[in-house]
Symmetry: none
Subunit: 240 residues, 2 copies
DNA sequence: GACGCCACGTTACAAGCCGTTACAAAGCCG
DNA sequence: CGGCTTTGTAACGGCTTGTAACGTGGCGTC
């Protein structure tokens, strides 16, 4: 997620696509347009979006179906748009996984306000847009070069991180002060779900601490939250 | 956030409070009611909520003001409720920091759907240390570093707190001079409700006092209020 | 003032969580 | 194919934490 929200507008009506797009762009957002569900899928594959404005009535796969499909796996917020102002439609829309629902005709300012409310809410407290690639990151008393995977502390001592140590560290750096469960960490670092007695993350944390912590016996940066997970407790800043 | 969402309903009309409350409870949520802004504040101090349903028109501090106040610092989602269905009111509500807006009279099912949508969306990993994250807090004759969970007294003696000691202490530090029952403390620290003869909190207080009190036999900071609960009696200030 | 009840403090203990070490499998590079 | 590093799994031991049990002191009653 970058600094300006990136919105994907999906509607079969050219007129509405353009009107919505123009208004959002004018108010400082980045907008991409799609005419139907398959175009939308193509766009989703190409870039990252902060929110989808989705028309319910469309030729081909309709909005409800799209919504069900996306909200089941993904986590992209959806604002549904429709000509039908009926209460039942609104409710079904929300129950199907949309984050908000607006009936046409709508006031563009209300659309903007609702988009902002959702984006504000789902804005992750990440410092960086999910990618630290090519940056140099300061945290605690050291700096990480994300290109070379080299860690340099304030005294100039360097340490080379292994691939998995580096991956784990970046995942933590992207979410400072957030408690992450082992399951989340394993998912984020390796894309897999833990077995029943999986101690993989414990071990990786232990290895990472050897490189990152001044005193690995008394970890200050990567703290354990018993019964929940681990947490990077330090300021993180871009020092590129 | 525990397994069932905890909703705070703020409305000056008894009728609406009860109706909303009944419907939400029936649908598997936990509900607490407040009649006005100050009652709301009292409830907010006492337990943890996943969402606030907030009436705009209230005697005393009105909904918009409350909303501005809460959304500036906190991160509790707010759903605004109002008799005025005017577009401008909706927009102002959203722009003031509400997450959603619903006009009375409303369909309870839609209210539920919107609440679920917001709660679903804002379910995110826990920020460690609550509102005290990353700060250093002075109280009594000592200072707590919320990053490292280390307690330093005026003579420079350090003590490492365990996770549960730390959580209990931060909960108390966020509410100085307020008497909290064991039930509230257990809810705030562990997100669970006490069993019939649950002495967990007594024990944790006892352990915490060993680290915090100069003379653990005669506690001055964490005082016992017989028959009610515990209370942190000291000035608390941010010393970051 | 003595007694008993009850709330609370403390200790003891057991279960479970977590850190670490050791080892084996898998990858990497020549 | 062989040595090296990296990474997952297993095992041991220490520490944290909830539960139970016992002791103690306050408060009301007589």
């Amino acid at each position: 997620m970058s600094d300006v929200p990136h919105i994907l507008v999906v509607d079969d009506s050219l007129e509405i696509r353009n009107a919505v797009s123009r208004y959002l762009v004018k108010n400082g957002m980045r907008v991409t347009k799609a005419e139907n569900a398959s175009e939308m899928d193509a766009e989703l594959a190409k870039s990252r979006f902060d929110l989808i404005v989705l028309d319910v009535m469309m030729p081909g796969e309709d909005g409800l179906s799209v919504c069900r499909r996306l909200s089941s796996n993904g986590s992209i917020p959806i604002l549904m748009l429709t000509a039908l102002g009926e209460e039942m439609d609104r409710i079904v829309g929300l129950e199907v996984g949309a984050d908000d629902y607006l009936a046409k005709p709508f006031n563009p300012r209300e659309l903007l306000a609702r988009i902002k409310a959702i984006v504000r809410r789902s804005a992750r407290p990440e410092v960086f847009g999910g990618t630290l690639t090519g940056k140099r990151i300061r945290f605690g008393h050291q700096m990480l070069d994300t290109d070379t995977r080299v860690l340099v502390d304030d005294e100039g001592v360097e340490a080379q991180l292994s691939v998995s140590e580096f991956k784990l560290l970046t995942v933590l750096l992207e979410r400072p002060r957030l408690v992450l469960t082992r399951e989340q960490l394993l998912d984020l670092t390796a894309g897999r779900t833990p077995g029943l007695f999986d101690r993989t993350i414990d071990n990786q944390i232990s290895r990472l601490r050897r490189s990152v912590e001044k005193d690995p016996m008394r970890p200050k940066l990567i703290t354990t939250v018993r019964g929940e997970g681990y947490c990077l407790s330090a300021e993180v800043e871009d020092a590129s």
